[in-house]
């Protein structure tokens, strides 16, 4: 069936809250009802009909065309179906997502996949700071699901992550995997300084190391572990690059010894 398509008329005057445009909230709605949904974040009213040209289709498959970085909260709390975004998105894309598939053919702002619980998010461009991370005051960040970033990620990717898998095919900024509780964070290329800062448990894989490692991470030697092979098998459908990274001996560092110290960083050497 044809997807339900939203095409941007022109760049909006204000930031917009796109969280109502998810499959489970649009299911069964008529074109008129959809066009009356309000998206404004200021006192100036902006409804769907004004911002987008709407082409009706299956609400399980949503397409957003002409997206800009003023689109916040795209796919927030999504529970089913699929959203494809052509262009960039603003903050909190896929936040608290439970299931389904969200694809961004552009860059994502901060807090992408924040507190995500399940499903798959794929970002073809880069993600800004705190990928998967919690908002201020929240105890845990990402709790499940898979995030694949084909480009780079900003600072503190995977902050306070509890479960799930983040794959960054490019580089990561400072403090990748900071305060990780558990889960898996894979950085295909180099990470910035102090990855795994204050992590208690969890796994970080760095394809080609990092600019500085905390002295509270202890070298445990080179190992080719079966667990990494299983991880490679699991992520292969999402990222062949990341999977190939795991099919070789990796340096294992245990830490962060400043806290519990049951986390691990695997470092590959691609040089």
């Amino acid at each position: 069936m044809k997807p339900l398509t939203f095409t941007l008329r022109q760049r909006p005057e204000q930031r917009l809250d796109l969280s109502p445009l998810v499959p489970h909230l649009l299911a069964g709605k008529t074109a008129k009802q959809i066009e009356h949904i309000e998206l404004q974040t200021t006192r100036v009213r902006a409804d769907v009909g004004e911002i987008f040209r709407v082409r009706m289709g299956d609400a399980e498959h949503i397409r957003i065309e002409g997206a800009t970085d003023r689109f916040d909260r795209v796919g927030e709390g999504m529970t089913t179906g699929e959203i494809v975004v052509e262009g960039d998105v603003g903050v909190r894309v896929g936040r608290l997502m439970r299931a389904g598939r969200l694809t961004v053919r552009g860059n994502a702002g901060p807090w992408a996949a924040s507190g995500m619980k399940g499903g798959v998010i794929e970002i073809f461009g880069s993600a800004n700071d705190r990928l998967g991370g919690p908002l201020a005051g929240e105890m845990a960040g990402m709790r499940g699901g898979i995030v694949v970033v084909r480009g780079h990620a900003g600072e503190r990717a995977g902050d306070r992550m509890r479960r799930g898998t983040i794959i960054i095919e490019g580089e990561a900024g400072a403090y990748a995997g900071s305060r990780m509780i558990a889960g898996t964070l894979i950085v295909g290329r180099k990470a910035g300084p102090l990855p795994g800062f204050l992590m208690t448990r969890g796994t970080i894989v760095l394809g080609s190391g990092c600019s500085a490692i905390s002295p509270t991470f202890m070298d445990c030697g080179q190992h080719e572990l079966l667990g990494n092979r299983l991880l490679a098998g699991f992520i292969e459908p999402f990222s062949k690059k990341a999977a190939s990274l795991l099919q070789r001996p990796l340096q294992r560092l245990a830490g962060d010894m400043a806290v519990l110290g049951k986390g691990e960083i695997f470092i590959g050497n691609r040089n």
Partner: protein, 302 residues
Amino acid sequence: MRVLTVEGVRIDDTFAEAFGMRATALIITADSARWALQAAQTMTGFATSVIGCGCEAGIDCELAPKQTPDGRPGVRVLLFAVSTAELQKQLQGRVGQCVLPSLGSACFAGIDGEESLRLGNGLRYFGDGWQISKRFGAKHFWRIPVMDGEFVCEAKTGLTKKAVGGGNLIILGRTSKSTRAAAEAAAAAIAKVPDVIAPFPGGIVRSGSKVGSKYKRAPASTNDAFCPTLRGAVKTSLDADTGSVLEIVIDGLTSDAVAAAMRAGIAAIVKLGPKRGATRITAGNYGGKLGPHHYHLKDLVP
């Protein structure tokens, strides 16, 4: 009793009586097929009968690297017990004492059941706090540090309540040599059937038993009606030309699997013929009142 004769082998018009059991399956892998098999054999040793061993266990099949979760050579093992609690206890003990110590081993669920049994969820405590939990999609694994690296074990495995234990064939021949040939052919054919095991040594039993004994302490005793040396002394079930009797006991994950195994066994015996193999096939039952599963031999003839 009406007797059917196929290719010169007499097949009694009787049935094997079998019981419902709880069962589970595991996939054990290692760096080489030899070590996967070693772990599986150690784990399924002393598991011939639920009466004395707590469970009945055996190797279902060997798996190529492509068929296993971790891409290494593996073996599929089946375990059967009379209760979920006993099956859990046997699983935990056998994997913990036989698979965990086996070099390079890993252990995965071999069946998706409606219910589950603890696998790595119990063994993880061996890690003394250094165990690592990893969830990859719907799968949950434990990584337990050991002296040769890490023991990877899936958190749970499936449990089936539809399993059947006690399917059997009793094979009668003129000499011990010919009876053995028939039993070996049947055991080899049954080993190829998926989802079944023949838990006795080499798949064959020579000490078939009857319920009860003249001694108070023994719940079961030798099946005197099938002992050739007692032919004249007891109410025998043997023919004048029977010199040796062997039995094959079959446990399967489903009733259909047990029937398929018995069919394969009968076909192999019939193919060998009465001259080189068995002269007669019968089956053990308790009059049909104890076990819910009845496998009539006449329905299984090739």
